[in-house]
C-alpha cells in the first residue's frame, strides 16, 4: 500500500503551550502572521480553534457572531465566530501546502490553538510517522 505526499515536517510530542500539554503539535503559519504558531493536532475537534490574538495577528480581527452557536468544550461554552483563514504548512522536506481553513475564533478560548477536522484536516491527505515524528501532507 503506497500513498504519496508532497511535503513533510517534524511534529512535536508532549510539549507545553503555557499550561497546556499538547500530545501532538505542528507548526503552522496562519494568515498574514509574521511567525509560525504551534497548534494541537486534534482529529477529534470539530473545528480548528484559534484564540482572538492569533486571528487578529493573522489579519482576521472581529467580534462574536451571534449566528454561530457556542463551542462546547472542556472549558465550557465558548462564544465566537467562524473565519476562513489561510494555513501554510511550511515543509522541512518537499513542497509547502496552503489551505484556507474554517476556524472557530474566540476571545474567550483559553486553550491552545487547535488544528481540527472540519474545514481543515478533512480536506488534506496526512499521515503521522512516530518512528521519526514526521507529519506528512498533500492535497487531496
Amino acid at each position: 500500500m503506497i500513498r504519496s505526499f508532497t511535503g513533510s515536517m517534524r511534529y512535536q510530542t508532549e510539549v507545553y503551550q503555557g499550561p497546556h500539554r499538547l500530545l501532538v503539535a505542528v507548526e503552522v503559519l496562519i494568515g498574514d502572521s509574521s511567525a509560525a504558531s504551534t497548534l494541537l493536532l486534534d482529529t477529534g475537534s470539530e473545528w480548528c480553534v484559534l484564540p482572538e490574538h492569533i486571528a487578529g495577528e493573522a489579519g482576521y480581527p472581529g467580534e462574536i457572531n451571534p449566528r454561530i452557536p457556542p463551542l462546547h468544550s472542556r472549558f465550557g461554552l465558548i462564544y465566537g465566530r467562524i473565519e476562513r483563514i489561510p494555513f501554510r504548512f511550511v515543509a522541512d522536506v518537499g513542497a509547502e501546502l496552503v489551505l484556507e481553513a474554517t476556524c472557530f475564533v474566540s476571545e474567550e478560548w483559553p486553550g491552545p490553538p487547535v488544528l481540527g477536522w472540519k474545514g481543515c484536516l478533512e480536506r488534506m491527505r496526512f499521515a503521522l510517522d512516530p518512528a521519526d515524528e514526521t507529519f506528512y501532507f498533500a492535497p487531496l
Partner: protein
Amino acid sequence: MPVLLEAPPTSHAPDDRGADISAETQPPAPVSAEADLAHLTELLADHDIDGARAWSQELLRRWPENTEVTHLAYVLAPPVARVVPRKYPPRRRDLEWEWLKEHGPEYAGLWVVLYEDRLLAADPDPAKALAEARKIPCPGPPLLHLAGPVRKK
C-alpha cells in the same frame, strides 16, 4: 452524495432547489433571510456541518446580496489544499524546540518569539512580542510560542 437538509416547518418549498439539495427533503421556503439564517444556526448547533454547508449555498442562491449570507457561505465552504511554491528555505525547528526545552521554564507564561536558537522577543502580550521580533530580520518565519513548565520527558 446529496446532503439531506432538515427543514423547519414551512408552507411550501420552491421547485428550483439547488442541485446539492436532496429532492427527498423540503428546504424552508424563502420567507426571509433572517429565518433562513436562523435555520443555518440550527444546523451548526446540531453539528450538521455538511448540512450547513449545503444550506449556506442555497442561502447564497436565495439571498445573493445579503452580506451575512455571502460571508457564511464563504467561511463554511470546504477548503481545497494546494501545493504552493516554496516561500521559505526548508528547515526543521529542532533548534527552537531545543531552546524551549532548555530555557522555556525561565520564560513560563510569556510569549516568546524564536528563530533557531535565538530569542527574538519575550512578552506577556503576544502582539508586543511579535512587534518586537519583527524589528530583527530573519531569513524565515520565527516561532511564536507560549512558554510553559518543564517538559518531563
